[in-house]
């Protein structure tokens, strides 16, 4: 059935649209954006007072399937994505088995086609088993649907292997996404190295562990000409180096997570593993630099690094708990509260960070409301007041530091390929 989303403020950075209009979706594709659109038998959604944007893309999530279905599945994770206003997600390869072959890539694509609530695009591993040594079948994975390569969760420590990976990725026109962490510098660390880690007697992960790896990789990106993307950027130096590389004309991009622009180590609850992730929550100064990088355009995308872990794994001594938090359902609200409301970025810029920004990296051919584009639409409100109850999450996991927080603004409805897949209660 056709859909008309009426009277919303349509923001589509790709076509430089920002006006009150209707959006018509027919046969799963955008049919038009104009005032007073009508279609017989169309389902009408009144978006008066709301923002209507191209479907949001989260280019960094962990769906845990195959292998860790007790933490998340393609179905549950994509349902959480829909409830967070995302219409497309890119899933990292650290599954079991690792997505380092066309077979695993195809499995994920097929599972997502049958059970996915939103569009799911796999990211292939850079090295076999993400072991950091032997390159995986990059071309075959691309043919099977992989949109990027990364060993996320682990960095490629060997510079020679990284160089070769970048060379291959360039020839296949795939971006290389790096989790930037020098493992020798971060070894044993549980949180950002700083006054707070010293106070709590927890081993630190220095900002330098990220900086050193970003610096090395930027040199390699220059050497190889590869498209290179820094995942979850978190330090002042890393932001400065990416900015420098971009000014120098390198094909370098980076993403920031909501928790890294919303929180810093001084805001952690003591020994609460819902604040434990990699990279760790950094200093106030680093957080400020990430926000500045978002405002200045150095950061291209907001990505959640949605990382589900079951309660049993998070109910341990802090140092034994795994790294990562879920984030799909709180991302839009955090961007609105932490970036838009204080005036650091405009709504237009926020929409870019969730649409054209990530799409320029992973090139899904989405993130726009141009006629003929896939019918993915995110409707959100800057006014709706709601409280995040993680126990009501669509994710199978409950590890979020934002449980209980009341937000102003958030997603209202999500349309994927021309169908409503989620609506806020009462919308």
């Amino acid at each position: 059935m056709p859909i008309v989303i009426k009277n919303g403020r349509v923001i589509d950075p790709a076509s430089q649209t920002d006006r009150v209009a209707d959006v018509l979706i027919v046969d799963g594709r955008i049919a038009g954006v104009a005032p007073n659109l009508a279609s017989p038998k169309a389902e009408i959604f009144d978006a008066t007072g709301m923002i209507v944007a191209p479907g949001f893309i989260d280019m960094h999530v962990h769906l845990r399937e195959p292998g860790f279905e007790h933490a998340e599945t393609i179905e549950s994770g994509s349902r959480a994505a829909a409830a967070g206003g995302f219409t497309s997600v890119c899933c990292m390869p650290n599954t079991k088995p690792v997505n380092d072959s066309a077979m695993v890539t195809s499995y994920i694509v097929e599972r997502a086609r049958r059970l996915g609530v939103v569009n799911v695009f796999p990211i292939g591993a850079i090295t076999k088993g993400s072991g950091g040594e032997e390159l995986s079948a990059i071309g075959a994975m691309k043919a099977a649907g992989a949109v990027a390569i990364s060993d996320d969760g682990l960095p490629v420590m060997n510079a020679r292997v990284m160089r070769r990976a970048m060379e291959f990725a360039r020839s296949y026109d795939l971006p290389v996404i790096q989790h930037c962490e020098d493992l020798n510098l971060s070894a044993g660390g549980d949180m950002h190295e700083g006054a707070q880690s010293v106070r709590w007697g927890l081993r630190g992960i220095p900002a330098a562990s990220e900086d050193v790896m970003v610096a090395r990789d930027l040199v390699l990106a220059q050497l190889t000409g590869a498209r290179y993307h820094v995942a979850h950027i978190s330090t002042r130096n890393a932001v400065a180096m990416v900015d420098y590389a971009r000014r120098g004309g390198l094909a370098v991009t980076c993403e920031a997570t909501p928790h890294h622009f919303a929180l810093s180590d001084d805001r952690m609850a003591a020994y609460d593993s819902n604040y434990k992730m990699k990279p760790p929550l950094r200093s106030v100064c680093d957080r400020g630099a990430v926000v500045d990088g978002i405002a200045a355009g150095t950061v291209s995308a907001i990505a959640t690094d949605h990382a589900p872990h079951p309660g049993s794994e998070k109910m341990q001594e802090f140092e034994r708990c795994p790294f990562g938090i879920i984030g799909l359902e709180t991302a839009i609200a955090l961007a609105l509260e932490e970036l838009v409301a204080p005036g650091r970025i405009t709504l237009n810029r926020m929409v870019e960070l969730f649409t054209t920004g990530p799409d320029a990296v992973v090139r899904l051919g989405r993130g726009t409301l141009s006629p003929g584009a896939p019918g993915d639409v995110t409707v959100f409100s800057t006014e709706v007041s709601w409280t995040y109850d993680v126990n009501e999450s669509h994710s199978r996991s409950r590890n979020s530091p934002f449980h209980g927080r009341t937000f102003r603004g958030g997603p209202v409805a999500t349309v994927v390929n021309g169908e409503f897949v989620w609506r806020r209660d009462g919308a």
């Binding site: 020994y271 140092e319 034994r320």
Partner: protein, 302 residues
């Protein structure tokens, strides 16, 4: 004091003073022939030690018994703790036995704080990782006060592996609340600069002579370079640069005392002569450990 005793950082000065005064009351009992009171008769205390510790565990056991309480000690080896049972499961099992308090030593910083959020029984931290060891700081303060009228205005040097020392952290928090001038000293790799922000009145130096100069109290820490995760300092030359030797004591105040939480490594962090030095109060610390822990147990349970 609320439910238990997790750290010195959260305590206010008045609470600390109350415990130290009560510990003084308990001091004479240690030398009486009949040492047992019945203040905590019928109360049950579980000593849960996930990390080897003869001194602290024994000290808590004796303190509990002198107050008339029943004390059960569980150590990591020989219990389900070593069979891979999770911390939460072990503690749930213990909680079902309804102890009046749990005394806990654990190698992970924050482990008692984690449990305190999930268990009804009050938890007394007997040392958590590299975070805090509150009863050690209390007994150190008691020992200093046995020889000085007040803590205010003293200069205290703490020397050794500060980065990994829960004793240092608890002492810094306690002494800072009394306006003590605190000098932390050790090799740069074991002396993160952020320590200066731990509390007011904290200074850092890598020079042992500077640390000791005009000190009223010299606290030496046990150094276990071989147990660290990385080579932070060459063990072979540690004593040469950071070991306390008799000639150093000339730099301190004439009546300066030397302290050590034990067990000492002669020839590693202090010379044998210093360990046996007349103004070394290491054994007084051990004795005060029992009195202070009696005061803490009484306050938490009584």
């Amino acid at each position: 004091m609320h439910a238990g005793l997790l750290g010195i950082e959260e305590m206010d000065r008045a609470e600390i003073e109350t415990i130290l005064a009560r510990a003084k009351d308990f001091q004479p009992i240690q030398s009486q022939s009949l040492k047992k009171l019945d203040t905590l008769r019928g109360k049950m205390i579980v000593n849960l030690f996930y990390e080897a510790s003869t001194r602290t565990r024994t000290s808590f056991e004796i303190a509990a018994k002198r107050l008339g309480a029943d004390a059960v000690s569980i150590t990591a080896s020989g219990s389900s703790v070593s069979k891979g049972e999770s911390l939460v499961d072990t503690l749930n099992t213990l909680a079902a036995m309804r102890p009046d308090a749990i005394v806990m030593r654990h190698a992970a910083s924050g482990a008692p704080h984690f449990l305190a959020r999930h268990l009804p029984a009050p938890i007394i931290n007997a040392g958590d990782g590299t975070h805090e060891h509150p009863t050690q700081a209390l007994l150190d303060a008691r020992t200093i006060l046995d020889r000085r009228p007040a803590l205010e205005g003293l200069r205290v040097a703490i020397i050794g592996d500060i980065a990994h020392s829960r004793v240092a952290r608890s002492n810094v928090h306690l002494l800072a609340k009394f306006g003590v001038e605190i000098v932390l000293c050790g090799p740069a790799s074991l002396l993160p600069v952020e320590l200066a922000q731990l509390a007011p009145g904290v200074h850092l130096t890598t020079d042992i002579r500077e640390a000791i100069r005009e000190a009223d109290v010299i606290m030496m820490l046990r150094v276990q370079l071989e147990r660290q995760h990385e080579a932070s300092f060459p063990a072979s030359e540690y004593f040469r640069f950071y070991g306390l030797q008799l000639e150093h004591l000339d730099l301190a105040k004439p009546d300066a005392i030397v302290m050590h939480p034990g067990p000492i490594n002669r020839g590693r962090e202090l010379s044998s002569e210093v360990a046996d030095f007349q103004r070394s109060v290491i054994l007084n610390q051990v004795e005060n450990g029992i009195a202070v822990r009696m005061a803490v147990l009484e306050r938490v349970i009584g």
